[in-house]
Symmetry: C3
Subunit: 356 residues, 3 copies
């Protein structure tokens, strides 16, 4: 009995959410149904990730999760770019980065820290993650500073944007080579050895092949439900008088990252903090170093060039998020209070964006 | 004989300073007497702190010292807020933060480092202190950036200020829970073990109860003498043509933190660098995360709302101080040259503030 | 036979380059000859450095290399200051700092990392280098921020510049005392012990005395050839329409640091990463904390006062370079990907400076 209620509710809420969306039901009803559906699909994705992570190791599992999670964001981004809605794209990129670094990582460290006094992950990985985050910031700050202090022609702006985007994509692809191939052991999870001694504790529900299929299916479901939910939010934005940037940076980021949230927190509470960090930081790195630059290239291919220049408050928000996340993770050791510090910064940014 | 000269001079200079203040003697005379009295009361406070620190452990002792030291600043701040002198309040908050991070910490590391080649303190504490400092900076930077780039209504400015102040106070109180209760051992002083083996070296002068009473009495005396001394400085400001911000950020900070100075340096020279750092960094954290936000709430209660927006040069001064202090302390190991680097930054800020 | 071709070509290209310069040959021909000569003299300097480094230890060898390398820059700087070409001086100071931190260090870590999976150097040195870099940034940022937000009189600007320059020179000289005298062992190279076991591998070509003489001769040759080469670049600047700041910050920096490049990369590939880092970071620190302040004093002595205020994009470029270099080196462990990250930032700055 217990075995079937979860898949049943998962499929039911998903279908209801789909019907509501395409039949154009009342927005408030659509919102409620989609929000419930998100909980179930996020839970499904979390289980699939955990299972794949069992077979693949914490880091590869975390990477797969981050990638599938961001596939949805990439698709939504391309749709927005093709409509020329550059401000919303940049706001939601900003929101994804700070949402992952502050909210997802903060809740994971907090929840994990309440259960385990100190949680450790590979300190070399922590250092490299920090340096990659700084590359992402520099790639956004430098063009903004140069273009703000020197009035450049539109053409030069596009050249800077494309070159910087190209550098980021190359850096990201080589990061995959480095972390998955040449220095895989060097970045291995510190707790992996001890896990081997407790195989029964983490016995997976599904076979390796089924886990991968479920991971893909769950990701696709999350992508659809997220979009349906985001769609209903537009109506809310107008109703409650929220600014586009607040909705992009906070509401969309919270909802759109529901999958990362649930998976990362669940893993943290099982003391797999390495995988949690990989999801949260890995996902924000993927947005900054891969999704954002790809969107710039796509915008040029579509003939509506988007530049890489973010607004001052977006840069400030990304900058402070990276600054505190780097400071907290760089020793490879975490506790509940560090999670709380990240959430405090999220709160400060939240109230600031809300009032703008 | 030797036993009585110190308390005698302590009481004598304190009384003379009090009489001079209330009888409104010549300002120059008042200044000289108060300055001498400060030396004695600061020495008294240093001894009381050391004694309490013997019973309570380095960290709790340092915390008590920082709290009693900042009680004076809180009282002076409330007086200034009730007079609507917001610029001076913010300048003296700035001065307390940079004075503690650069001057007190710098002199402690320098003096301790001349005597001991390398001094170590808990590296986990160093990391957390760094993250807390960053939270303090973010809380000041974010409102300033958002309010400078988007003209907000006065009401919204107050909302941001109150929410951010509330977040800081909660974060500070939970930091006490974390550092004093849930993770006390984790942040314990690294040298405490070895101290146990040398109890005779640190034999305290007074009993536990008497030490605590003396700590409170000394703090109250420091608060009074500091205020009398600061009072005479107003006359000096006009006489020598110094700007209010320079007096607030440097003169008041040096005099007002005399107690922290003497205690921190004395502890560093006894190789209790953990307690020194706790006084210097703990005191600046307490100002940023507790005293400043409480003053904002008090200003609203008094009906003269003060916002949290500091000037660009105040933010720059706090920012660079945190940046260098974090870099120097994050490895939990200090030497004389690192103290000197902090003093160099203090000098750079000093000449810049002097000429503005 | 093999023994003589290198010195022969070294002297031949050097002489041809000299004749071309003084006989005022065709600029393109001068450029080609000087560029070839630079390769040989840089190679000669690299060998001499390696030999001296064998006798003196990695760090002292690296320091000597950095000092001799920057002697050339100091001389060129004095010539430019006496001509009142302050913008070019500041652009080339900027270029030297970012060239050393990003290009020289980046290529060293990359080349060394391709050969050795992980390379380690003294972690305490890494931390102190980071703090010194931050002092250098603060010394440039604080005057710029104070002077931009408060219109100061020219006289006050000079006072700030001289005081800050004086503080930097004192800090640099005391750093030499600290690192060469009081804490020499503390900062010793981590791999030195293991080297002792393999003396035959590093057997030097020359005696100690001859190595030192060759180091001085090679440095002088590099200084001359660099200047001749830089001289030809002025013509190129006009021909290809490059901005002065791009030429100063990139072309001059690459050519003028050819010696550091070759020496640092060669040492990295021999697993002497400590010496590589000392050359790259040590050289940029020497420029920021010694060469730049000395040029300010010289400018006042020559009666053409130069201030310490750099442009916004120069500050941004130096700031991001320090930020990423500090993040990458602070754990005292390096790999090929970290080198690549530094080169990515160099590329981002390069395209931005190119288009301004």
């Amino acid at each position: 009995m217990k075995k079937y209620w979860f898949p049943s509710l998962l499929i039911l809420t998903f279908l209801l959410s789909a019907i509501g969306h395409y039949a154009d039901w009342n927005p408030t009803l659509q919102f409620v149904i989609s929000a419930i559906a998100v909980i179930f699909v996020a839970g499904f994705l979390g289980k699939a990730t955990e299972s794949v992570s069992h077979y693949a190791g914490q880091r590869l599992g975390g990477f797969l999760n981050a990638t599938f999670g961001n596939a949805a964001e990439l698709i939504i981004g391309i749709l927005l770019v093709s409509n020329g809605q550059f401000e919303i794209v940049k706001a939601s990129i900003t929101g994804s980065i700070i949402g992952n670094l502050l909210l997802v990582l903060g809740l994971s460290l907090f929840a994990g820290g309440l259960k385990y006094k100190i949680q450790n992950f590979n300190v070399s990985l922590a250092g490299l993650n920090g340096s990659l985050m700084i590359l992402g910031i520099i790639a956004l700050f430098v063009p903004a500073i140069f273009l703000n202090t020197h009035a450049l022609q539109s053409e030069d702006k596009n050249v800077v944007s494309l070159v910087v985007a190209g550098i980021l994509i190359v850096a990201y692809l080589l990061w995959l080579v480095f972390s998955m191939i040449t220095h895989k052991d060097y970045l291995a999870d510190v707790t992996e050895d001890s896990e081997e001694q407790l195989p029964h504790e983490h016995a997976p529900m599904w076979s390796k092949g089924r886990s991968i299929v479920y991971l893909i299916v769950a990701t696709v479901m999350v992508a659809f439900v997220s979009e349906w939910l985001v769609h209903t939010l537009d109506t809310f934005t107008e109703k409650f008088g929220l600014s586009e940037i607040f909705v992009g940076a906070f509401v969309v980021a919270i909802v759109g990252n529901a999958a990362e949230h649930s998976a990362a927190i669940m893993l943290a509470m099982k003391n797999k903090i390495g995988a949690s960090v990989e999801i949260a930081i890995g996902s924000s790195l993927q947005i900054a170093l891969f999704v954002a630059p790809v969107l710039i290239f796509v915008s040029h291919i579509l003939g509506r060039p988007m530049d890489i220049v973010f607004t001052v408050i977006e840069l400030a928000a990304i900058g402070v998020s990276v600054f505190i996340a780097k400071s907290i993770t760089q020793d490879g050791s975490t506790n509940w209070y560090e999670g709380l510090l990240l959430l405090a910064v999220y709160g400060i940014l939240g109230v600031s964006f809300y009032l703008v």
